[in-house]
Structure formats: structure tokens, C-alpha cells
Amino acid sequence: MTIDTASSKSTTKDQASMQHEVAPQKSVIRRLLDGPELMIFGSLIIIIAIFTVMAPTAFLSGINLRNMAIEASMMMILAVGMTYVIITSGIDLSVGAVLVFSSVASLIAMRATGSDAPWVPVLGLAVALASGAFWGLVNGLLIARARLTPLIVTLASMGIALGLARLMTGGVDLTGVPRSIVTSIGIGRIGGIPVIVLIACVFASVAGIALHMTRFGLYTYAVGSNEQGARRAGIKVDRHLISIYVFSGVCAGLAGYLTLTRFSSTTISGHAMDNLKAITAVVLGGASLFGGIGSMYGTAAGVFIPVVLASGLIIVGLPSFWQEVAVGIVLLAAVLLDQYRRRTRSS
């Protein structure tokens, strides 16, 4: 039976008083304004405004906008997976290493064909995504089934993946990326917009819609909010966690493939900080490392802030070392502003 079918008599009084206590329903816009993501967007806009005033032509030049967008897009792809992971109260330190591994595996596969047939890039993409999925599966199994701490698991898989990638390359960056994908993806544009940016937009939108509107996303919040409760509610928590780490791995695999097309070589030395950067973006975007909280648009804002800062500070000509100081200060200012808004709102 369900109570939907049970008739009710004795509760009219309570219904009346219930009406009394229901708060007025808020509009979608109001909820967005109330969301913890807003102020990060606000900070982003303030930062952009400052640079625009200081160096309008250079900062708003097509070249710069395009490059910032590409830079943010690459990070966004990693941060998309990381958003899911962090909402489940997990963490994935292996993304940078998996990115490197996937790009190496993909390039080796493409070179091994010795051909430049149009299916070779497709094979490369498949290998990159499969490599990412493989490492994600390893992480997910150890975390969900063996119940190990995500920090240690992904730290270990980071070391293993990176070590194997270096073994496969012999320690030097490989070249020989098919020209076709470098020109069509790496530096390609459609309607003036870089192809990488388009890919990232589509990817992040789909992942965002899935997070906020589908069952999969809902379960992600539920697992992060109360894992035991989710289990008792019949959610297959283990399977869900595994698929989320696989997804994070696939994100890294995709980013690895795109990295190949951007740099037309592997970049095995360059991604040591990618994990921290992705985590920072997600946390800046309002997510909590304790799980249950976070959003994809928050992450998007969180991704852009460091990118815009890095570019803007160079453009206004701040010396390198001052840039590090400035980035730190702006980060603090952004979260302080956010905190201030939340406090004035809720108590």
C-alpha cells in the first residue's frame, strides 16, 4: 500500500496550520541569486572589469579572449569530473597523471598504426578515453569496494600512472601527432570559436544537466550527503561511486587527447599541478570537500578566475613573482566576499 491511496479524515487541522508555515515559493532567479555560486560569479565579473579598464584593447583582444577560453576549457574538462567526485565527498588526485598517461597511450597507438587514415584519430580518441576509464575504474573499485580513502588511492594511482607513462615514452616527450587533428581540433575554429572551447562547452553542459536534472546527479548528492542513508534508500552506492571515478578518469582521458592536439606532442612534465587546480576550481565554485554540496556553474566560475587572473596580470605587466602574490590575495578576496554575502543573508 502507499498512503497516496489511503483516505484521510483526521488531519484537516494540521493541513491548515501547514499552509500557515509554508514559506513563499522562491522564483528561479531568486534561488540563483541566493546560491553560493553567485558571489564567485560576482568576483569573476569584478576581476574582468578591472582588467578591462586597465588594459582594454589587449585584455579584450580576440587573441586573448580565445586563449583564455581555451585555457579554461582544458581545466574545465578536468573540473567537470572533479565536481562529481567532490560532491560524493571524494577527491581525485590522479587526474593530471591520468591525463598524461592517456595522451601517451593514445599517441603511441596512433603512431603504431603507421597510417594517417581518417580512422586513426578516432582510434586515438578511443584509446585516450579507454585509458582514462581504466584508471578511473581502478580508483573506483579500490574506493567503493575495498573502502580505501580516496586521497591515498588516487595518490597511489597518480604515481603508478605517471611512472607507466614515463616508461612508455622512455622519459622524453613523443611527437608525431597526426597533423589533421592538430589543425582541426588543436588550433581549429568554427565561426571564430576554438573547437576545443566548443567541445568543452558541450561536454560541461551535458555533465551539468546530468548533475542537476537527472537521477544520476541526484544520487551523487545523496551519496555525498549521507552515504549510509543512500545505501538504505536502495541506491547502489558502490556502483555509483565507481561510475563517478570512471567518469573523472574519462574526463582526464579526453583532456589528454585534446592536450595532444594542442601541443602536437605529449607533455609528460607539465601536469603535476592539474589535480590541485581542478580541486581549487571546484571548491571556489562553492563545493564542500565534505560532500553533498556543489554545482557545475559554480565550478565554471571557479575555473575562470585563476585563468583570467593569470592572463590579466601578465597583460597589465605585473612582474612574475608579484603575480603569485596577487593571485593569492584575489582568491582570498573572492571567498571572503562570498562568505560575507552568505552571512548577511542567513543570520
Binding site: 589587449a58 622524453v172 594542442r262 602536437s264 607539465g270 603535476a272 599541478m273 593569470a310 601578465i314
Partner: protein, 298 residues
């Protein structure tokens, strides 16, 4: 040809915190001052193409007349540099070159494989015919210049049958880790007589290891570059020789070539800057001392 004060040249370096890159910056600053040209110096946080390219891109947005850079990758930088060239900037590479140099107006640098060969020669010279095991301790794989030096060393060392090369340990830029790698190698190979590091950070770690194990007498250590800490280790007797490049020259000459290219004047390329091998004995010589790296220019 345009007047000097319309010209702005940007220097995009591969790394912060290295005497080598500081010295390039100092050379470029000196040239800029001489020519009365505006200079903007930026450096990537760590030595990798994925870190340098965003810096290059932002510099590009300021529409400099020329860009001088030390490419952190011989392939990855081609595309962004082509975009910069299409934007009207002249490009000069220092330290190393690109696989496709057509976009470059000039190249001023060292042949890094020969730097590696020099380290092998210096090692053999310091060991003076002794036989035993030798090893390398380096930072991280995937740094193109270091990779070339490692390769040069490995080719050259084969010419000395008395020296058994037991391989390379990657210890990351982490100085304590390099020290630990040294001590572990020592423990495992009591007949280790020589160690080479192709860049500054592992060299400082190796020096620390030699200091703490008191093996300065029995082990010869060779390093590349001439940072302050390396020089001190040389003077202390922990390191036995430094293979010094000429980054100041690279920066100075590279900058001048860039300005010449902007002005439409004749440009000389490629320009090779050599290496000098410093030992405790000759480091005070003015001929050597003038190549020691200075800092505080980025």
C-alpha cells in the same frame, strides 16, 4: 624601420627560480637599456610547455613588436608562435630551437647535447683515469633541454671504458629527494666514483648528500649551470666542476637580434653560445667569473 621607442620586446622564459633564466633576463635587460627599447619579462611557473603557453598567449595579447623566448618544447610551441608571428611579432628563440624553425627570426643558444657531452668530459677529466661506476641524478623527465643533455652524456660516457655508467635517477625538482637518491646510490654502490646532474636543483641535492655522507674525497660530482648555491658547493669542494652555459649572452644577443629583426636590419642566425667548464681552481679567473649567473632580473 621604426624608431626604438615604439619597439617593445617581450621575453617569455621557461621557468622561475633558476639562475639560468635569471641570467637570460639580465642579459636582455642590459641590451634593452643599451638600445632604449621597452622590455616586458615574464616567466612560466615551472618548466613545461603547458605552463609556458598561457604566459606566451597573454604576452601576445599586448601586441609586442618581438618576442624572445626559450622554448620549453620543440613542438608544442610551434602553433602558438605561428599565431604570434601572424599577429606581427618577430620571434627569437634562445637556449634551444624548434623542430620547425621557419617561424623564428633568429636562434641564439647552446647545443644541449654538447652540454651533456661536456659534463661527461669534465667527469672523465676529474676522475683522471680512475675506474669505477658513475651515475646521473636529474630532475624530471620530459624537460627537452635536460633530455638532450642526458642523451649527450650517455653517448660521450661510452668513450671511457674505465667508467661504468649505472644509469640515471629522476628525483624531481625536490632537492631532498635528490640527496636521498645520491645516498641510496652510494649505499648500493660503494664503488661509485662519479655523479652528474644536468641542472641546478638536483645538483644542490647531490651536494647536500656529499656533505652529509662526507664523500667529497671519494666521489667526483659534476653539474650544469652556475647558480649561487652551486658555486658555493664548488668552492666547498662538494662539486668538482660546473659546465656553464652563457645565458647572459643568450639574452643579450637574442634581444639585439629581435630588435634588429623588428627594425628590418640584418639578423644573424643561428648564433651558438659555447660552454665553459669551471673548477674550484679557475672559478676566480675573470674569463670564467664573467659567465657566472646573476639574478634578480625577472
Amino acid at each position: 624601420a621604426s624608431a626604438s621607442d615604439d619597439i617593445s620586446v617581450s621575453l617569455v622564459l621557461g621557468q622561475r627560480n633558476s639562475g639560468f633564466h635569471e641570467a637570460i633576463a639580465c642579459g636582455a635587460r642590459a641590451a634593452a637599456k643599451e638600445l632604449g627599447v621597452k622590455v616586458n619579462i615574464q616567466a612560466a611557473p615551472t618548466y613545461s610547455a603547458s605552463e609556458q603557453i598561457p604566459v606566451l598567449n597573454a604576452v601576445m595579447a599586448t601586441s609586442p613588436s618581438a618576442i624572445v623566448l626559450d622554448p620549453t618544447s620543440s613542438t608544442a610551441l610551434i602553433a602558438p608562435l605561428m599565431e604570434a608571428a601572424a599577429n606581427g611579432a618577430k620571434i627569437v628563440a634562445v637556449d634551444t630551437t624548434l623542430d620547425d624553425p621557419s617561424v623564428l627570426s633568429a636562434v641564439v643558444g647552446t647545443d644541449n647535447e654538447s652540454v651533456g657531452r661536456e659534463t661527461a668530459k669534465a667527469l672523465a677529466k676529474a676522475l683522471d683515469g680512475k675506474s669505477g661506476k658513475v651515475a646521473q641524478i636529474n630532475s624530471i623527465p620530459g624537460i627537452s633541454t635536460v633530455d638532450a643533455r642526458i642523451k649527450g652524456f650517455e653517448e660521450e660516457i661510452k668513450k671511457y671504458p674505465n667508467l661504468t655508467y649505472i644509469g640515471n635517477q629522476f628525483a624531481s625538482e625536490d632537492i631532498p629527494k635528490a640527496q636521498q637518491a645520491y645516498v641510496s646510490l652510494m649505499s648500493a654502490n660503494p664503488d661509485l666514483i662519479g655523479v652528474v646532474s644536468q641542472s641546478n636543483n638536483p645538483a644542490i641535492g647531490v651536494a647536500g648528500g656529499i656533505r652529509s655522507t662526507e664523500t667529497a674525497e671519494s666521489v667526483v660530482a659534476i653539474a650544469v649551470d652556475a647558480d649561487e648555491a652551486e658555486i658555493e658547493a664548488l668552492n666547498e669542494g662538494l662539486l668538482d666542476a660546473l659546465v656553464i652555459q652563457q645565458p647572459y649572452e643568450m639574452g643579450y644577443v637574442g634581444f639585439k637580434q629581435a630588435v634588429a629583426a623588428v627594425k628590418g636590419e640584418p639578423v644573424e642566425t643561428p648564433i651558438g653560445t659555447g660552454t665553459v667548464t669551471a673548477t674550484k681552481a679557475n672559478i676566480a679567473d675573470p674569463d670564467v667569473a664573467k659567465y657566472l649567473y646573476e639574478g634578480n632580473c625577472i
